[in-house]
Amino acid sequence: MAEKLKVATCSLAGCFGCHMSLLDIDERLVDLLEVVAFDRSPIDDLKQISGPVDLGLIEGGVCNAENVHVLQEFRRLCKVLVAVGECGITGGIPSMRNGFTLKECLEESYIRGVGVEFAHIPDDPELPLLLDKVRPLHHIVKIDYFLPGCPPSADAFWHFLTARMAGQDPTLPNALIHFD
C-alpha cells in the first residue's frame, strides 16, 4: 500500500468552523483516514508539527505574532499549503476590526466596554501580541490553493482532498464555490 499522505491542519484567527465542516464529510472520514495521516491538527490534538508534511490546511487569518510563527512554520514544512475558508482567504470577520485602530479595539474591549471591571489592556507576555491589522494568509506567505466558504462545505473539502490525492487539479466546480 502506498504511503499515506501526511496532512497538518490548524486554525489561526478563525473559529474552527472550517475544521467542523471537514468532519462533516461524515462516513467518508473512514475512507479519508485510509489514505491520509494527520500530523499537527486539532483533530488529533497534536500541538506541534513533527516534520515535513505533504499538505497543510490553514483556517483563519493572521491576527497576532503567534499566528505569524505558526503560518511561517507551516509554509516551511508543508509541500502544499492551502488557505481554507473566508478568514484564511480574505481575513474574514476578524478583519472587520481593520476599520479601527488597534487602540480603539483594545480600549473598547478592555477599558470602556460594557461590563469591564478591571480596566486594563492585557500585557501578559504569555499572550500573543496583536498585529495592527488582521491579514489573510496570502499577505504573509505564498499560498498554493484556496478553499473558499464560511465554512467550505464538506463536499468542497472532499472534492479538494480526493482530487489532490489522485494527482488531479483540485479546482472546485463552480457549484461548490461559496463565500458564505
Partner: protein
Amino acid sequence: MKPAAAPSIQEILEPILLRYGGRPDLLLQILIAVQKKLSCVPPAAIAALAERLAIPLVRVQGVVSFYAFLSTEFQGDYAIYLSDNITDQMLGSRELAAHLCGKLGVSLGQVRADGRVSVRFTSCTGMCDQGPAGLINFRPVTRLTRDRMERIADLVNARVPMEDWPGELFQVETAMRRSDVVFRRPLKPGEGLRASLERGGEILSTWAEDLAPSDARKHHLERGGAETLKEIYKSGLRGRGGAGFKTGIKWQSVRGASDPERYVLCNADEGEPGTFKDRVLLTDYADMVFEGMTICGHAVGARKGILYVRQEYAYLEEHLEGVLARRREAGLLGENILDSALDFDIGIHFGAGAYICGMESAMIKSIEGRRGIPRQRWPLPVHHGYRRKPTVVNNVETFAAAAVISARGGEWYARNGTAESSGTKLFCVSGDCERPGIYEYPWGVTVREVLRDCGALEAQGVQVGGPSGTLINAGDFDREISFEDLSSVGTMMVFAKQRDLFDAVRNYAQFFRHESCGLCTSCRIGTTLLANYVEKFAKGYGSPVDLEEMQGIGQIMKTMSHCGLGQTASLHISDSIAKFPSIWAGRMRTTEFIPAFDLDGALAEARSLTGRTDADAHLPHPVPQEA
C-alpha cells in the same frame, strides 16, 4: 488682521456668476474663479452654486472633488504646488521642498496654522526644461534653488502681495533649441487663413447671374473649405496628441455631418509629464494655433472653437486673450473673417488639475463643466462631441501644423518626415542633457540624433513619449521617432548612466495612481496595486513572485481598461522589467515571497499599548536586513 466685514459668499459669487452668465455648463470655470478668490471652494459656496445654477448638490461636490486644484478646505493665502515630475526630482525638488517647508515652518501637504501658506506636490507642471518648478497661487515659478526657496519663504512670511514679487521668479523660457522647416519660418498672422479662403477662388460676378450675392459668398466659403481639407489630406497630417489619427479623416467626418452646429476644440491639456511644447506654442506661436483652429472651422463648417488649457498654463490667459483680441481686430476672427462669409470665434476654457482631461472625451466633459471622466467609445466626438454636436478635437501642435499646411500646401508638408509620419514634430527634451528644451525635427529622426543635439552623451535610457510611452535603453537609440517605429507625443526624458531608473518608475507609478479617474475597475485598482508593488520593492521586500504579479496586473490593465490612461499606465513597469532588469533584481533580497510590510512594525502599536518589550513582542524580519 481681518477686514471689518468679510464679504458674504453671495457677494463673492455674484460677480463671478455674472462674468460667466450664470451658465451651468461653465460650472468648472466658475469653481476655478472661486478657488482663486478664496483659496478654496467652501461648502457654503458649493451649496449656493448648486442652487443658483440648478445643479444637484452632489454633482457640484463631485466636480470640486475631482480636480486636484479645487478644494473645499482653505489652501492658505499662498498655495504653493511643487512640480513632482521625475525631472524635477532629478534636479533636487524633494530636498528643495523640505528646505522651503523648513523655512516656512509648515509640513508638506498641510496649511500653516496661521492660514498663510501650504506646500504640496502636484503632477508635472510642464516646465521640465527649467525645473525644479512649481506654481504659487497658480503663477509658475521655475529654476528653483535653495536661494530662491528662501526668497519665496521670506516673501510669504512678510506677506508681500504676489503682484509685488520680483518678476524674475516667474520667468518662463520658451526659446526653441532647434527649428526645422516649419518653425524656421513661422507663419505671419493671417497667412494660412488667407490661403484657405483664397482656395474658394474669386467671388466671381458670373456667379451672381444665377446666384444671389449671399449664396455666392457661401459657395466661395464651401469651396475654399473643401480645397483646404484636400490639402490636409495631401499633407498626411496625423494628430500630434499621441494617438496619431489622420487629421483629414477626422475633419471630413465633421464636415460631412448633417448637423450644421459644429465645434472645434483645441486640446492644450498638456498633462503628459515631461511635455511642454504646447506651452511654447501658446506662448510664442499662439497665432498659428488659433489660425489652425479657424482654418479647421472653415474646412468643417464650424463657427465656434474652444481652447482648453490646463490650469498649469492659466498664467497665459491674459496673453492668449490679447492674441484673440488682436485677431478679432485684424479681421482674422469674428464675423466675416477677411471679408469672407466665414464666421468663427474662439473662447478659452481652463482645466483644474486632471491628467485624464487630455483624453478627448474627458476634455469634452470638462468643458461642459463636469467631472473629467472619459465617455463611452461610441458615439465618437466627430458625431456627438461638445454639446452632443459634431466636434473636431485636435492637439495644439496639430492645429499649428494645419495652419502651415494651409499656407504652404499639403504636398510641401508631406515632403518632410517619413511615409506614414509626414512633416515635422516638436520634441520636448528634458532630464540629463546639456540643452533641455524644444527641438523641431522631421519625423523619423533617431533617438541618437536627438541625444547628440541636446548634449546627452552619457544616457543609459530615455522615456519616449512620457510615462505612458516607451522606456528604452541604449540598444534602442538608433530607432526612429515615427508612427512606424517609436510613436511619441514628442517627449524625451533622458536618464544618464548614474541614475537609478527605479526612481523614475516609482514616480510614474505614483503619478498614474494619482491620476486614474476611477471609472473603470482595471485602471482604478490596477494603478494602486502596481504603485504598492513598486513600494514593496523600494523597501527591499520584493521577490520574483511579485515581479510576475506586476506583469500580470499590467497585462490586465492594458487589455481591460476603458481608455488610454489605463491601457498605458503599466507600460513603464513592463518596459523597465524588460529593458532595465537590474533595477528590480538589485532590490530583491529573497527569492521567496515575503510580506509587503514590516512584520515587526505591525506589532509596534500593540507594544506601545501594552508596554511590552519581551522577546515575544517582536517578530524577526523574514530576510536579513542590511546593517
